[in-house]
Amino acid sequence: MKRTSFLLGALSGLTVVANADHLFARALADTTLPGLPGGANRTLVLINLQGGNDGLNCVVPHGNPDYYRVRPSLAIAQNEVLAIDAQLGLNPNMRAFKALYDKGSVAVVQGVGYPDPDHSHFRSTEIWQTAAPDKYLHTGWLGRYMDDAGLPESNLFNGVALSQVLPEVMIASKTDVPAIPSERGYGLVSDRNAASRTAYTQMVRDARLPFQSPYLSHVMEIEDHSQRGSQELPKLIAGYKPAGSYPATALGRSLSLAAQIVGSKLGTKVIYVQHGSFDTHVSQVQTQNRLLGEFSDAIAAFYADLAAHGNENEVLTMTFSEFGRRIAENGSRGTDHGEASPLFLIGGNVKGGMYGAAPDLSNTSNGNVKFGTDFRSVYATVLERWLGKPSQKILSGSFSTLPVLA
């Protein structure tokens, strides 16, 4: 159905399609906000730090004596912290990331969360991904962005999730987003057999069937995508050679593929990547230090690669985690589920620095960091100031933007 309307538009040489929905999408697509320079090639990379990243041992309040009092076995010694100033610094395993910060390429937004926070991984992840704390939505905020952005319907890679399963944040009503665990792990197993591949290609194209179904055209379209996407991707990205080397970690491999997709100019607006698990109830230090070290090294390699290809200002990377962790450590040298935590915005013309108040460790929300910035304000900023789209409809409400992007 979608393919047909696209073809109609292409054949007539017009961008008009005979469908009210599409006209609406086009109209929205044309409403680029004033004051945004360029923007056509911009990509957002969203990194999910799964499991609840402990904010206090990531952006460390090393000038606050309360921190050392409530974290007797977990606190990071003042002389180890990668100090940003007398109060705050980064986890010692984030050296490469600190160098990016020092270059002004990283904005740290403190105390991000939402009212009446949910402490379940499941529900809070869903809230962050759907941007809906008080209702159940089946589409993600980036899915809704893609639906409304008037992206070319012929492009199978308007958005991609570098994961095994499509995360809720990328689920759209009209845009089919592929999940690509890796270049080799993407696609139909049966395509390895040439005869099977040929038969499948033909089989899913003929709509002359002895029944009607309201879902038939959609199923046929997606069955076609399922095969075509994995056949086209390797060809589309083959010309890109990564600059420098990436760490041999899952995140390193994902970001290397992300740089390749960006550099191959597929028109991809959104790339989802995941890293974790940060659910450090037990023996937090080893786990979190390793994960933050991997994050820091992979991000540094990613931006070095992007820069070598002249793409570093075209890619804004944003992290999120479903919640921070409890301020006080538990009895197992770990921390339990908390509330607000910091997130990072990297590259893409960010105005580097610290935003939002450092966590108040005495005035808490039942022992958790109170939120100061609604996560939807960060989303509104990214949508309006980076992707150039109004955010009100996508976020079902009006949220102020933050001055973090140039």
Binding site: Q164, S190, P214
Partner: protein, 490 residues
Amino acid sequence: MANVDVAGIHRPTGSLDAADALRPYGGPWNDRWAAHLLRRAGFGGSPDDIRALTAMSASDAVSSLVHFPSDAAPPPPDLFDPIAYVRETYGGRRPADVGADQKRAIGKDVRKQERQSILSMQAWWLDRMLNSRAPLQEKMALYFHGHFTSAAIQKGVTPPMVLAQNQLYRQNALGNLRDLTRSVSKDPAMLLYLDNALNVAAHPNENYARELMELFTLGVDHYSESDVREAARAWSGWTVYRRSGEASFVGSRHDGGSKTFLGKTGNFNGDDIVNVIFDRPECATFFATSLINYFVYNDPEPQLVDAVAALIRKNDYNLAPVLSTVLRSNVFFSDRAYRALVKSPAEFVIGAHKALGLAKVDDSAQRAMAAMGQVLFYPPNVAGWPGGQNWVTSQMVISRQNFVAGLVTSQVIGQSSWLPSVPLKAQSAAQALIASILQGDASPLASAQLADYLNGTGESAMGMLSGENRDERVRGAAYLTMAMPAFQLA
């Protein structure tokens, strides 16, 4: 919690003949309609199952599914009970007397054993979906699981509680909706999952009271915030004993005062609240919509909803006569309903096993279902699985196709009841596969491609179908048949 969106749910084209919709179907009866009935009132059928129903009348076929034999086999697996385990491990010690290292070890052990229990329960349920002599009972258990949702291992819900809730759905499969709603409100997994276990007179917790009306019985716009508060007061006092995992009503925690709820006033308790709700016509309308969406087609016309709601009210919320009428009706056996739903992953996975005539669920099924977007006992949220077009993204379709590709090359395929007897002539083999698996619902191009594949013709020229390559070729062709669009549709 506010409303739920239902994007991606589509009504079939064409128009409804409302006056005739629920009258008994008297049209042609053949393998296509028998397979349709088996997909909707169960999880599909093997060629033998379809033949057996085709040999009956339509009405007898429906009766054979609605008046199901009681089938308790196989018994559920032995489950790990973390409550008993912790009680025994701690002995008489208070938590403060147990060292941190030991607590950690106990916690790790509990999580591991809980996960194993849930996996064994999922395997058990999938086996029941495949092998039960009462497929409609399992289909209703899955319906209730997505309707009155509770998720495993959250908020203190234990594996035995999850099983007890699942058995409650099975026992009430075609029972009375009002009775089931009262029972599930007092079910330990539900009390914990939606926080009514924390609902006490002094500090009412409104979570359950709200979802009871919004998602389980009425839908938004049919109650006020004041009704939510009053219902929460009426449901106060129900809790779950952490030391036994049993549900209990504690009179001292209950608000026994007068409540005004949906226009009625009295010293209501929780049961009274459910009774008041079920007296509202909107409640019958709500279940009518939901059942038509599950069994007939999506986004039904208001006239059809009204007709089924009237049927529900006439039968005082007893499901057996309602489903017996709906499954026998013209609208159910209409071209508009035929393949008008998208198979859920459970329907797809079990349907693939049934189509191939397999008696054992392949070990890969559970992991594959997760990639397809459905993990039994873990609904995505309290609103259940959205269904319809939401089951069809390229990632989910790749997961579905790759699962079948694995199934046709796995060990279990050797036990297929009919694949080995597919004719040795490519054209006839293709016809047999399309007839047995899709009841002929393949396009001319797809049929020709399948014959080409079996024959080894086309660009790859693998050589004619023969005794030597037959096994591999037929397996590949069975995969291709199940990869066709029709097989995604129920």
